[in-house]
């Protein structure tokens, strides 16, 4: 029966020992008491003697090897016996390192976790004992932070450095000169001084005085906060959601191109002149652009599309969203099948949709289903902007104001009326070149509007 010899553990803290010297070779006969090998700990050298007699059948470690305690080092037995089962090198298992991490004690915790303090400006009463660390007080003095208005998030509500730093970050700091007037007033004043410091002139500004007055009044009456709370109406929430989703989900970018309005102006002049005789509505520039889009876009199917992660819907008809500014906020009614409408129909329908929006009588179904949107800030003098796409549409066209530009006519500079179009497209749905091609085609069609009408 073969007997393994283990590396003894010389003390609790010893994890492994180094074999110093072998006094027997593999195959040597050994008797009980024979010195087998010496081994070393970091503290001392020890002798390992044979406890049984026989043949030293196998040696698993050499001199100098670092052997974990209680591991088999060699085997003594009768000639011919197998030693495999004792060989630690054959069943090498990675010992998981001892985890000495302190156990998280369970049960009740002596204090509750801190809530993230709201860092709103607060207002302490004059003469109220303020608990503030020396460091925070110094920083506040240096930076011009009003400690009467500074919330304390340290132990027991002590104002600590991070609280003052928070005030500085929010710009709640005043210059030394302004500090006396500023202190204790919890003013919501924006600073215009160095590093956003509130200056004497900021305090002297009408808003500030109002604010100061209102604060004073509020403080005197102690009637709650110095602002009016207005609940967000659903439309605002809807817009907010849609616009934010749009920007956060899409890869939007805007192309700008301008066109010569000379022909459109001539066309509008003619219509105006014969309006009554021909019973035509008042055709606006926006109507003309809607018409041009409806007649151009079908050649550029990815611009008249809905984009989803796994598919794109390319529409066969053009349903134009027309952005309308209403007292309740932005609304976008849809001009369905605009590609099948005459210019006159487009003009009449879009006007009635706009009215309905402004009056609040618009049907919900009319606010859906657009495949492309046109938005117009031109009447407000905007020269160029980046309209935000109404998902899942892939494009939106921004219409800007009319400017006078010049171009070379032969050797002469010639002024002409020009309008810039801003096309935002979703780069996920289409690339820059196809979008640009659409915009270019639109521009060409607008510059040659009579020819477009003739088609």
């Amino acid at each position: 029966m073969a007997t393994p010899v283990i590396m003894p553990r010389q003390g609790q803290s010893v994890e492994s020992c180094i074999i110093g010297k072998w006094h027997k070779k593999k195959g040597d006969p050994v008797s009980p008491g024979d010195l087998l090998f010496t081994y070393e700990t970091d503290k001392s050298t020890f002798d390992e003697e044979a406890k049984v007699g026989g043949i030293l059948l196998d040696i698993f470690f050499e001199e100098g090897d670092d052997v974990p305690c209680l591991t088999n080092v060699c085997v003594i037995g009768d000639a011919g016996e197998s030693t495999d089962e004792f060989n630690p090198n054959k069943k090498e298992e990675e010992k998981t390192p001892e985890t000495t991490q302190a156990k998280q004690a369970e049960g009740e915790s002596p204090t509750a976790p801190v809530k993230e303090e709201q860092a709103a400006i607060i207002s302490r009463k004059e003469g109220e004992r303020i608990f503030i660390s020396p460091r925070a007080r110094h920083l506040a003095e240096k930076a011009g932070v009003d400690i009467l208005s500074t919330p304390g998030t340290g132990p027991n509500g002590r104002i600590i450095e991070r609280d003052v730093a928070g005030m500085i970050e929010k710009g709640k700091v005043a210059t030394a000169a302004a500090f006396k007037d500023y202190q204790g007033k919890a003013l919501d004043v924006t600073g215009s001084g160095i590093g956003g410091r509130i200056t004497m002139s900021d305090l002297a500004a009408p808003g500030a005085l109002e604010s100061m007055a209102s604060v004073a009044t509020t403080k005197a009456a102690e009637t709650g906060p110095d602002y009016e709370e207005v609940a967000n109406p659903t439309i605002r929430k809807t817009i907010a959601k849609a616009m934010h989703a749009s920007l956060s989900n899409m890869a939007q970018l805007t192309l700008n191109s301008s066109f010569d309005m000379t022909e459109i102006n001539e066309f509008r002049a003619k219509i105006k002149a014969s309006k009554e005789t021909l019973d035509l509505p008042n055709i606006t520039i926006n109507d003309i652009i809607l018409y041009a889009v409806s007649r151009t876009i079908l050649d550029h199917p990815y611009c008249n599309a809905h984009y989803y992660d796994d598919k794109t819907l390319l529409f066969k008809n053009v349903h134009l969203g027309v952005a309308v500014d209403t007292p309740r906020g932005l609304m976008v009614p849809t001009l369905f099948n605009a590609n099948r409408m005459s210019l006159s129909e487009i003009s009449t329908t879009s006007k009635s949709l706009g009215e309905a929006c402004r009056n609040g009588t618009i049907l919900p179904d009319s606010l859906k289903g657009g495949t492309f949107t046109v938005t117009n800030l031109g009447t407000l003098g905007i020269e160029s902007f980046t309209p935000v796409i109404n998902p899942p549409q892939t494009c939106i066209l921004g219409v800007n104001t009319i400017e006078t530009k010049v171009k070379m006519a032969g050797s002469e500079l010639k002024p002409y009326p020009a309008m810039t179009l801003s096309l935002t497209f979703d780069h996920r749905a289409l690339d820059g070149a196809p979008a640009a091609r659409f915009l270019k085609a639109l521009v060409v069609n607008l510059e040659n509007f009579s020819a477009l009408l003739a088609r």
Partner: protein, 823 residues
């Protein structure tokens, strides 16, 4: 226990008897007439003179203490004066044969011994030697006080005046005294005459004298050492420890040729029958004759005998015989010198414990009158001659007393003019590579011991090239670092000696000394008995005599056993000697863990509290070697704390690894182990490693970067680095494994509060061990601070951490509750 000695059961189990030889009691019985062959008349008269001088000196002090006047001089001495009127013969008899190579150590009642030994030394020194001593001592400051009025034609007479003045000025706490007034009555001494410190702790000189004798033996120095202690000290543990250690068999049996003779030491008990007011014989102890104790200590009974200390010739005779024994066979010797103090314990002693009759009976045995009567009866001298001696002495004492109370001639230290006068003496702060210039005696060339060979194969940085930790058996450990510094010093300083429990063969309980056994001869590295007081106290005596010692207490917890030796002896003698004495002693103390309440305590605070000790606690191999090198190069006592948790740790911070060459780390300089900007951790001891864990967690979970500073030293301590850090971070947590209350950290936290108050965002927070007994290892996580405690403390006391659930309660209510209960 060395393997060369065999504990043989066959011999040890045999029946036999312990036999004793008779111990002589007052065996001397010769008359002056009979002794005329040995002593000339001048010798006899000198014996009388010296006794009379002591008597007059003490009479003067008694008069001043009790009446504020002496011989027309007026003076009030508020300091102590433990007089020995009646004991003069024992002092003079003892020192009669001694010269300046012979050292005496004394007690609180040692004025007589100082004077007797000084007078004996003056007798034996040449005039040139005397002039040299007087002129060089404190650059002649003592001499200058007496010079203008002294008769310089007679150098011996001048020297006697110098001696009396130096001692008295010291008693009166004058800067012109032998120890600049910093020793005072109970501590006055003058090493150039072989007068070593007198000790106000009863029996305090026993262990110190042992160390001095060790120094003489281990460095082959001439002379003997006498430990003068009283019969009251027979009840003191350290006295017994000193006797036990002084007779250790190994000196004769194991120490090499030239060193294997018993120590040249006499435990001389001036047995005046009282320990203060307690009668040592008949009341507080039960030995009957003190000399009996010798029979209980060694087979030679320490050559003990009772000597009649009321007869100077009997004492001289005993000293002559004992010196001979010491020279031939070696000591130590125990002498029970019978004496009696007529004066009280101190001038306030009302003698409530003894009868008037008793005092009167001893006065009838008065040694001065008795000696004079014998001499006159033997017709060796006339009463007039004795009267003349007394007159001369009275004139001398009167003159010296006048000088010593003169504020101009004998001013006190002016701490207004020189406020640094005392502080500059607290440490000697010198660098002395070797205490003596000669070849150190070693058994092997440097580096050839087995340990050094093993170390040569080790990796001197904790991480390999790939950043993986090197295994414990292959890495250069903290214990190796300490070993290396000590080994190297052994090859540099021939006086270096080290001892403690199990330091040889075993290599120290934690294997720091392993390998030194093979390289260092026995007399320089040996196992002491389990006598902590004697281990430390003898280190003090060894250093005081001119050597350098490393003494070891196996566990920090054993400091209590050596309390007086650390707190009153090791710490104080440099300053109490006004810089005459240096104290190059390194006291190694190992701070335990896992072993419960009496083996796991960090007592750095106790040592840091005592002025005069340097205290260091390195926790990395690089720091350990550098600080040990510094400690061993200096001349101050350094308590070198080690931790058993980390003897096997490798160097994790000094990327170049621990240098093989010599380098020093300045004692008192903390070290930034990790840089950070949001909070500072200052640690003493192994808490460093917990602090680093906490720093990592703060960084990863709470986006706070912690700067971790390892104090390394506790005394002295340079706060500059810490304050700089706190100015930057505004927050500090201090941690160590010492019980928090009264810990060194509390001292540091308070100092930081003062030095950085305006920069603090929260009070400095101390996390130490709980104020409990140390529980068993399995419960230690509830007792010693670990990483989570740092976060707990930060969350509750400094800056709440978002979403953190603390485990330990650091709230103010809890703090008040615990303090209320004292836990």
């Amino acid at each position: 226990m060395p393997k060369s000695q065999f504990v043989d059961p066959d011999i040890l189990r045999k029946p036999s008897k312990i036999t004793f030889t008779d111990i002589d009691v007052n065996a001397y019985n010769k008359t002056v007439q009979e002794e005329s062959a040995i002593y000339t008349k001048a010798d006899f008269m000198r014996i009388y003179h010296d006794m009379a001088l002591i008597r007059e000196f003490e009479t003067m002090l008694y008069s001043i203490k009790t009446t504020n006047s002496y011989n027309g001089l007026e003076y009030n001495n508020p300091g102590p004066a433990h007089l020995s009127i009646g004991q003069e013969a024992s002092a003079v008899g003892q020192t009669y044969l001694l010269d300046t190579d012979d050292y005496i150590f004394g007690s609180h009642r040692s004025h007589g011994e100082i004077l007797a030994k000084g007078l004996s030394a003056i007798e034996k020194l040449s005039e040139n030697e005397l002039v040299e001593i007087m002129e060089s001592f404190f650059d002649g400051a003592v001499l200058k006080a007496i010079e203008p009025t002294a008769d310089k034609s007679d150098i011996k007479k001048l020297a006697r005046e110098f001696l009396v003045y130096g001692a008295l000025a010291e008693i009166f706490a004058r800067e012109t005294g032998f120890n600049k007034g910093l020793g005072g009555s109970m501590h006055a001494f003058f090493t150039p005459f072989g007068i070593y410190p007198n000790n106000a702790i009863v029996g305090g000189s026993a262990t110190i004298a042992l160390g001095s004798a060790l120094y003489k033996r281990a460095n082959k120095k001439p002379g003997i050492v006498i430990c003068n202690i009283g019969d009251g000290s027979m009840g003191c543990g350290p006295v017994w420890e000193a006797m036990m250690m002084s007779v250790m068999d190994q000196i004769k049996q194991l120490w090499g040729e030239g060193y294997n003779k018993g120590l040249p030491l006499i435990f001389n008990f001036f047995n005046n029958n009282y320990g203060m007011g307690g009668q040592t014989r008949g009341e507080t102890m039960g030995y009957d004759f003190l000399a009996r104790a010798g029979a209980g200590i060694t087979p030679n009974q320490m050559y003990a005998e009772r000597v009649d200390g009321y007869n100077p010739l009997a004492v001289i005779d005993a000293m002559r015989r004992k010196k001979e024994i010491i020279n031939k066979e070696g000591g130590p010797v125990l002498l029970d010198v019978l004496t009696y103090r007529i004066s009280g314990h101190s001038p306030s002693d009302a003698s409530t414990y003894r009868s008037k009759e008793e005092i009167e009976a001893w006065e009838k045995h008065d040694v001065l009158q008795g000696f004079e009567r014998q001499m006159v009866e033997a017709k060796l001298a006339t009463p007039e001659e004795f009267a003349a001696i007394r007159e001369e002495i009275k004139a001398l004492i009167t003159k010296v007393c006048g000088l010593a109370i003169d504020e101009k001639i004998s001013p006190r230290m002016d701490l207004y003019k020189n406020p640094l006068a005392i502080e500059s003496l607290m440490f000697s702060n010198q660098k002395i590579e070797k205490m003596e210039d000669r070849e150190p005696e070693m058994l092997l060339p440097r580096g050839e011991d087995p340990r050094s060979k093993q170390i040569a194969k080790k990796i001197r940085y904790a991480y390999d090239a790939d950043g993986k930790p090197v295994s414990k058996n292959r890495v250069f450990q903290l214990r190796d670092a300490i070993f290396e510094a000590i080994r190297d010093k052994y090859y540099t300083d021939p006086t270096l000696i080290s001892y403690g429990e199990d330091v040889r063969d075993w290599g120290g309980a934690f294997a720091v000394y392993r390998g030194l056994t093979e390289a260092v001869p026995y007399h320089r590295l040996f196992n002491s008995p389990i006598s902590e007081a004697a281990i430390v106290g003898s280190g003090v005596g060894y250093a005081m005599s001119g050597g350098r010692a490393i003494v070891e207490l196996m566990y920090c917890d054993f400091i209590g056993r050596a309390g007086d030796e650390i707190f009153n002896q090791l710490a104080k003698w440099q300053a109490m000697s006004a810089g005459v004495i240096k104290m190059p002693v390194v006291l190694r103390v190992s701070i335990g863990s896992k072993y419960g309440a009496q083996h796991s305590q960090d007592w750095t605070a106790l040592m840091a509290h005592i002025p005069g000790l340097k205290v260091v606690f390195p926790v990395t191999p690089y720091d350990a070697k550098g600080l040990m090198n510094s400690a061993l190069a200096g001349t101050d006592p350094v308590v070198f704390c080690e931790s058993q948790r980390i003897y096997d740790i490798g160097e994790q911070f000094h990327k170049e690894g621990v240098p093989e060459d010599y380098y020093e780390i300045e004692i008192g300089e903390p070290d930034i182990k990790r840089e950070g900007k949001d909070i500072t951790f200052l640690t003493i001891g192994t808490s460093l490693y917990e602090a680093l864990k906490a720093a990592n967690e703060l960084e990863t979970k709470y986006n706070m970067s912690a700067e971790v500073i390892d104090a390394r030293s506790i005394t002295p301590f340079n706060y500059e680095k810490v304050i700089e850090s706190v100015k930057k971070t505004g927050r500090i947590v201090l941690a160590s494994d010492a019980c928090a209350r009264g810990s060194a950290l509390k001292e540091m936290a308070q100092t930081i509060s003062e030095l950085a108050f305006d920069y603090l965002d929260a009070p400095p927070v101390v996390i130490g061990a709980r104020n409990w007994i140390t529980p068993c290892f399995e419960l230690e996580e509830h007792f010693f601070p670990h990483a989570t405690w740092f976060l707990d403390a930060i969350h509750q006391k400094i800056q709440p951490l978002p979403g953190y659930f603390p485990v330990q309660n650091f709230t103010e209510l809890e703090q008040i509750r615990r303090n209320k209960l004292g836990v």
